[in-house]
Subunit: 285 residues, 2 copies
């Protein structure tokens, strides 16, 4: 999807949030915000929003020399999710429809993303999960279920740290032997890289590859050739999170998007209100 | 107060909101947002936020040829407030502390401001007033009370349309014979000008002057000489709304600010949380 004019103010706010994560120096904060204002004024607004996120985070790494300031947060979120895993796995075992619950939990795991700039405790995550699971799962669950039944080579695109622990529950339902999980090629925001896939235990379960880039989404033209080949070969792609939806919603591919609708622009694009736990059948969109 | 780095994203969002109010043409929306991005990247961030609001609205008037697109909204808000006036006046008459209730209502009137971009009904305003009055009135009420007792020449700086109807209740408590009410010199946002002071019935009660400018606040250097002289002569200034606080909080004057705290930047500056109904003694700040 293209950037909306409503995204522009959000870019500025996110740039400041990120700058504060990278540095306590107000000179760095002001420099980044000014640069984002200038570059956003000049750029074409026909690229997906994660392209801007990629640029902001590259520049912050240059300015501060920090390669991965979210590393401690990502590890903390993985540990919190791992503590909840046994209970959630048991719930799936006893569920009437284990696949549906695993999909719902994989989407719900994205609430951990909201904790990047605040204090998120295990109790809070636990409570948020219960609240989130009480919401209906919206979209093409049955389409996903049959696509999964027919697929022999599933590429699963992960999103954030923490959330990737919840993804294990769904990967187990998919049959790990035919699943490859892809993470970001380089640290950006709290997105999962190989390191977080390892600490989440995902590498013990399936083959984990990376996409070769540092975008908070999957910009195919920017991914490694190796990743693109795997993307082509897959007969089903399952893409987690808004960033992957924003960058792949126009891809010609058998693809399902699983995400929480977090902003009004995505809500308008996907035609479901903010807060929806959504499965979008992106095949032929 | 100076613009905070946290205000920058808000400028962009407000520019888009205003552009949509001025025009349905997406070319105008994009042009305004791009211009705000460019000019904000270049400007010094040491002026109060309303300076930016003033520039955005001047440019929108130039681009669209509309002098006052908020005129119908302002009249509607005045009419809604006028419908509530008799009941509110009766409540003040029967109150234990009529002055305190009039101050509280004058601050509460600012909730009408929130309706500019949405549908606001009389029932909704009525309900919001009850909710708002249930909040405590915070700040130096007794300081204001004695300043008012001692003053002989009070300049009352109004804020929005709708709200200015509520201001009548406080002006009556102050003794209208020693009060002058000032409004904006030209239409900007939903701020009250002479026209709205008239339709609110304020001109029947006291002398109404204007400040000679089109800023959504009171930028003294930009006001008319006549207004500045009246500001100097007043032995007490009562300034309504965030815009007047943002532009006058450093003025050397016997001044009290009455406003609802609406954003985290003002909350930090005034040291009270968002939502507070606040009286700030700005004398010697």
């Amino acid at each position: 999807m293209q950037t909306s004019i409503d995204c522009i103010a959000c870019f500025v706010r996110q740039a400041l949030d990120a700058a504060r994560f990278f540095s306590e120096d107000s000179v760095v904060h002001e420099r980044i915000v000014r640069e984002v204002l200038e570059s956003t004024a000049r750029m074409e607004w026909n690229e997906p929003p994660p392209v801007v996120g990629q640029r902001i985070h590259r520049r912050l790494r240059e300015l501060t020399g920090h390669a991965d300031p979210y590393r401690a947060v990502k590890e903390r979120h993985n540990r919190m999710a791992l503590a909840l895993l046994p209970e959630l796995a048991a719930r799936i075992d006893h569920a009437e429809d284990p696949f549906a619950l695993a999909v719902h939990l994989a989407i719900t795991g994205n609430i951990i993303d909201l904790g990047v700039n605040g204090q998120l405790t295990e109790a809070h995550v636990h409570e948020s999960i219960e609240t989130a699971l009480a919401r209906p799962l919206v979209g093409d669950l049955e389409g996903l279920r049959s696509a999964v039944t027919e697929a022999s080579n599933i590429l699963y695109l992960a999103d954030n740290a923490g959330e990737i622990v919840f993804d294990r529950l769904l990967v187990e339902q998919l049959d790990p032997s035919r699943v490859t999980v892809a993470v970001r090629g380089q640290a950006v925001l709290n997105d999962a890289t190989r390191r977080e896939a390892e600490s989440a235990g995902m590498t013990d379960l399936v083959e984990v590859i990376d996409n070769g880039t540092d975008a908070p989404g999957t910009i195919l033209g920017d991914c490694s050739e190796a990743f693109r080949a795997r993307f082509e070969q897959a007969d089903l792609v399952i893409a987690k999170g808004q960033g992957n939806y924003e960058t792949l919603s126009k891809a010609r591919k058998a693809i399902y998007f699983l995400f929480m609708v977090k902003c009004p622009v995505i809500a308008a694009d996907a035609d479901h209100p903010v807060g929806t736990h959504l499965i979008v059948n992106g095949t032929g969109l």
